[in-house]
Structures are given as C-alpha cells and as structure tokens.
Symmetry: C2
Subunit: 402 residues, 2 copies
C-alpha cells in the first residue's frame, strides 16, 4: 500500500463529465489498495471569472478580499469531486485549505506554504477516506484565507505530499509528460522518462511551462517524487526525482523564452563602479537581470547589454534615461525582438563538447548568437526572436536527430 | 454610537449594481458613527445553481459535501461586499462562518447555531472595521462546514446580534415591513410599526413568509430587537421586539396557508386509546399534526379529522391505510383543497368578541368553516382553498375597514 497525492488542474475538472472521468482515475488508484489524497484546482475559467466579478465592483480590490473570493473556486471543485467519488462507492471527504492544515505566510495573492498540520489528514486517511483538498489556498496566522499564486495547486500537492511523506505526487495535466522540446515546434520531440529537480527547475524557468517552479523547489527540498502525466491517456509520464538512471539523456530539453528584452546602455564611461551602480539601481527597483554582456571599451567608454523580462523593459529604459548623467551613459537602446534558447541537462557538466555542438547547429542554420550564458546544467543563447523556433528545431535535431 | 447588525438577502446583492447600492446603505450607517456587522446571503439564484451542479454529478450527494458546496455562495457575496465598501473608503473585512466563530450542531443542511465565539468579531470592530459575515453557515465540532437551511442568513444575523449584544438587528428584504395581510390579496393592508416576537412567530408559521421562524425564536430567546425593512425605500420598517406600545392594533395580521391537507379517519371504533394510538403513530413518523376535530360518535364509531402539511399527506394516508385493522377505522379520506386562514394579535386575549367578529365576517361572506383552532394570540379556521383569498379580504375588512 502506497500513499499517493494526485493533483488535477482546472481543465481536468472543467465540467461534470470531466469530474466523473477524474473520479474514475482516483477510484482506480484507491481500489488498487493505495491511500489517496487529491488536490483540485478551480473548474475551467472560474478563477478568471471571479476576478472579473471583483473588477466590476472594485477595479483595485484588496488582496485579502481577492484571496477570499478566488479561494471559493477550489472549494466548489473539491466538494463536487467528493460527490463524484461517493457516487462510485468510494468514501471521500473534501477539505478546504484551512481544514487540511495548510498554513502560509501573509503575502496575499502569492503566499508561501510555511507548514502543513497533517493531523486531520492522517485521521481521515486512517478511516479509509480518499481526501480531496482544495488546492491553491491556505490560511495565515490571522486565520485569513490566502492563495499561492498562479499554478499554486501544484505547490499545494507537493506540500501535502511532503507533510504526509507520500510515496508519489502525481501532477495530472493535459500533456503526458516533459518533452525534450515543445512538440508544437519540434514534432520529433521525445518524452523524457526521468528528470532531476535541478533540470526541471531550469526547464521551468526557461519557459517549459509544465510545472510551477515553486512546486519543484519544494519537491527538491523535501525529496518528493513527482510524476507529470496526462489525465487523458493514463500512460506513464515523466518522473521528477533526485537521481536519474545511468543511461540518461545528455540533455533533457531545448526550450525557448520570447518574453525577454535586451537593453543596451551605450557609451558608458569606462570608470570603476559604473556597472555596479547600474545593476544595484535595477536591483533596488526589483528588476531581475539575466544575461549580461560587457563590451571591451574604446575611447574611454564601453557598452553594457543585459536581458530582462519584457514586462520590465519600459521601466528599465525610463530608469536609465532619468539617470543618464549620473551614470555617465550616452544612450539607451531596447530590443524586444529577441529570444533566449536554452539546453538543459545534468549530464552536460561531465560531457565536453555540448556547447560547441549547440553553437555548431546554430551556425549551420545561419542563426546569429547575440549573447551566451552558461551554468552547470544549462547553456542559453540570445538570438533574434523570429529565428527562435528554427533554432530550437536545429539544436534538437543535433542532439536527438536520427 | 450603536452596534447594528444588517442582513441583506440574495436579491439585494444579486449583481454589481445592487451590491454597490447595499454598500451605500452600510456606509451611511457607519458614517453616522455606528459599529456595523453585515450578514449577506448568496447572490440571486447562486444556491440553486450550486445544487443543480451537484445534482448533475450525483443525484443524491452527501449532505456534508452539499453544505461545503452551498456555503461558497455566501463567501463570494461577502468578499464582493467588502470590496464595494473599500471602494467607498470604508474599512471593511469579510469573515466566513468559521472565521466569525459561528458554531453549530452537526445536522448538515439544517444546523442550529450553538454559540458564537465573538472574539475576532469584537477585535475587528474595535479596529474600526465594518465586518461582512457570510450568512447561512457555520462549523460543527469536527471543523466541518454546516449550513442553517432555507432562510438561515436571518438566523446568522440574529445569532451575531445576540453574541455582540447589538442594539438592533436589521433584516433588509424586498418588502418594507410586516403587513396586516398579504398586500397582493388585500390592497388596503396596513404596515405594522411594532409587533411582538410571539405575534411574529404565529404570523411566520402561518405563512406570512417574511422572516425565518428560527431567527424570531432566537431573537425572542436573547431579546434581540429586530427591524424588517426594505433595501429599496430606506423607510422605517416593522420592529419586532418584546413589548409593543399601548396603542397597539387589536390584531396584527390576517394570513392564509394553503400548503395543508385535511385527513379524516372515518368510522373509528369509539374505544378509549384509539386517538392516542393514531397520533402517536404519526408522531413516531415525525408528522406534525395541526388542528384536530374529533366528532361525537354514534353507532359506537366516531370520525377523527386533523390537518397536516400537504407534503406529509400521502405518507399519512398510507400509514393509516396499512393500520386500518389495528386502529379499527373504516376509511381514510384526504382533502388537499383546504386552506387555513388565521388572525394573530397579542391584544385578542384581553378583548372579547374577536373570534365572533371573525366568524361573522366569514358568515357574511358565505364562507363555510370546517374546523377551528385557537391559542392565546391566534384564531385559525379551516375553509375551502378556493375561498381563502376572499376570506382574508373579508376578515381584514372587518377589523381594519373604514
């Protein structure tokens, strides 16, 4: 007998028919002799509809009240799911975030789980019940309802799995696992059987968009075995865990991120401390900087280029323009038509030639590399946005082709 | 400075526009220097929609899960109302049933409030907040969400008013008070300024349908001053309290109830204990019997007639038919086309002639009285259903005419 946490997203529970389908999956897991804790999201577009309802009444609602409102979506899903299981003869009980003992900090709208008081969960499991927990929510120390932000139900599932020392945390989604590239761009993309937490984190932050990053961080911290799988096919998905098999793929995935912009501060005076002042200004304004390229200067000046998220770009340009004089820079240029294409794989640190293979593939495809950044398990290049899909395909072909 | 509890029903908060209108009422009360606790119902038809959603998934859902589901309707209302007040610059905080400390027994779907732990409510009021409480709901000793049944938000409001020792509990509705008769039947019906708890209870149980009976019982028990008023007109409504003024109306209202049936057990053997056995059989089956008429027997038999709620009539007929022999009765007759018309007034016990005036009015209108029942503050007659409206009008005219 294993203890399994299963998470189902909003699409999987969007209507009565899908709720019944998911109930069948849960019932099968239970009938195989497992203890089951289920985490559900709000049905379909419910959360967006609730936000629209709030906007109609107050365009700038308090985050506390918005959390109280949004959290109702998952409460509806959880009770409907319990009813669906009851109909199948499976003893089931729904628990809201607070009933399930999910305690968070007080950052309404983006709370972090602090602890899970699992006493009630254990009692209900011991009674033979399947537990359906409302995802995405918890309570803070004031007994106010909080929400965990976009994708928060993944985090709920991992937090419960960690607290209950579950054998497996299954994240059911509309894809049947993690792929070596987006199958819409690369039809030959391969489903990965196993991937490490670190690889998954790099893939998620690079825009692979399958798992919520915070959930993977938490899974790594508490060593929770995760599986990403499809609620439609029922086939085995991708396991995310600490150690992967020996016969691992050299790289686990090729990804692209087009939501970035390149900012260039031109003609910066070539004096010590200028770069420091520039980047501490951005840090103070909570702008995350990714790849940095500092050109070798001539005529006593240099250019500093860096990438930021597209949404931050206008603010960054304004900040730099306002401080042109104090920073001693001549002009600021912003390019939104760039993309970051990356390869991720824990294997690359022990394999020489991965970077050169990637650059060679891009060169043969006649794609110009603007900037490069590397880490132990990742290599990223900045290229023109219009060439992003072609770059992903070319790199994928170089590593997995034939 | 007074502490006022204000309750708004589902129609009053049905959409963004109405929520804004109610927020204005609350804001005015607050700006006049009062502490305000607001109780809201679910928006419009939300509760019915949630029940339909449940039915689609499981035609016979568990009452625990149905409670968890239905309670979300009021959670949506409470947060939207807090947002609307926030927009008006009024500090407001929403609290669910459990956050407001509303503890109930475990009869899911029809729970009774056992106590209100008002500590948090008092703290939030002391901070200067308007508190918006989700009506209709509480939690039981297992920390499960419960609901109080139809009209339960009235009970929530009175329970909170009692716990906080509020000066007034205002029940906002779509009528502007309690009338001496249903204005749709009797256009001359008069709005009552004040009415006692007992009178209100008789009126409510007789079908006046303005206040939930349980809320009036609780108001009486804890001596909570209530006011029934309209959220549209803003005019003073009807006060429900212990002692009314001296210049009180002789009778407070004329009501009809058509949801009853008359059952006649014919030819019952005229032996001691038969009536007892018959009514204890009904009590054991949780059927409430109202008016009873036992005819004088002849030929060693008698007829026993009594009224029950229409919905119970088929069960009663079946019970009696099955036990014809043991009860020693010849036949069972059920008449659904009857109505109970009643007058209510605490004044009638000290005024002779009230009953005769009522019967005279019916006689002049040529309406036949089938059965009569009286209490200290009420006289009811059973008549043919088709004559009910005419009876109400005739009686009302006799007492209030000219």
């Amino acid at each position: 007998m294993a203890l399994i946490v299963q998470k189902f997203g909003g699409t999987s529970v969007a209507n009565a028919e899908r709720v019944a389908h998911v109930a069948d999956i849960i019932a099968n897991t239970y009938r195989q002799g497992n203890q089951v804790v289920v985490v559900v999201s709000a049905q379909g577009k419910t959360t967006d509809e609730l936000i629209a309802k709030a906007q109609e009444i107050n365009p700038n609602p308090s985050k506390r009240e918005l959390d109280a409102l949004m959290a109702t979506g998952e409460l509806v899903s959880m009770s409907l799911m319990a009813m669906a299981l009851d109909k199948l003869g499976i003893p089931a009980k729904s628990l809201s975030g607070w009933q399930a003992g999910v305690h968070t900090d007080s950052t309404h709208g983006a709370s972090r789980v602090k602890r899970v008081d699992a006493e009630r969960l254990r009692n209900e499991l011991d009674k033979g019940n399947v537990i359906i927990v409302a995802g995405f929510q918890g309570i803070n120390k004031y007994d106010d309802v909080t929400t965990l932000g976009r994708g928060g139900s993944d985090t709920s599932a991992v937090a419960l799995a960690a607290a209950l020392d579950a054998d497996l945390c299954q994240i059911y989604t509309d894809v049947d696992g993690i792929y070596t590239a987006d199958p819409r761009i690369v039809p030959d993309a391969i489903k990965i059987d196993e991937i490490t937490y670190d690889e998954m984190l790099e893939l998620a932050s690079l825009g692979a968009n399958v798992l919520h990053n915070r959930s993977v961080e938490m899974a790594k911290k508490y060593n929770v075995n995760m599986e990403v799988l499809s609620s439609m096919t029922g086939a085995e998905g991708t396991f995310v865990k600490e150690v992967t098999d020996v016969e691992k793929l050299l790289i686990k995935g090729v990804t692209k991120d087009i939501n970035i912009a390149r900012i260039s501060a031109m003609g910066v005076s070539d004096k010590p401390g200028i770069a420091f002042r520039l980047f501490s200004l951005l840090a103070k304004n909570k702008v995350s900087v990714d790849i940095i390229l500092q050109s070798v200067g001539r005529d006593g000046t240099q250019d500093i280029s860096f990438t930021v998220a597209s949404k931050d770009a206008p603010q960054v340009v304004q900040l730099l323009e306002e401080r042109k004089d104090t920073l001693g820079l001549q002009s600021v240029v912003c390019d939104n038509d760039v993309a970051k294409v990356s390869i991720v794989g824990a294997g690359m640190e022990t394999h020489a030639g991965v970077a050169s293979k990637m650059f060679e593939a891009l060169g043969e495809a006649n794609i110009n590399i603007q900037m490069i950044a590397t880490s132990e398990i990742k290599i990223s290049v900045l290229i023109a946005e219009e060439e992003a899909n072609r770059a992903v395909a070319a790199i994928h072909d170089a590593f997995y082709g034939e």
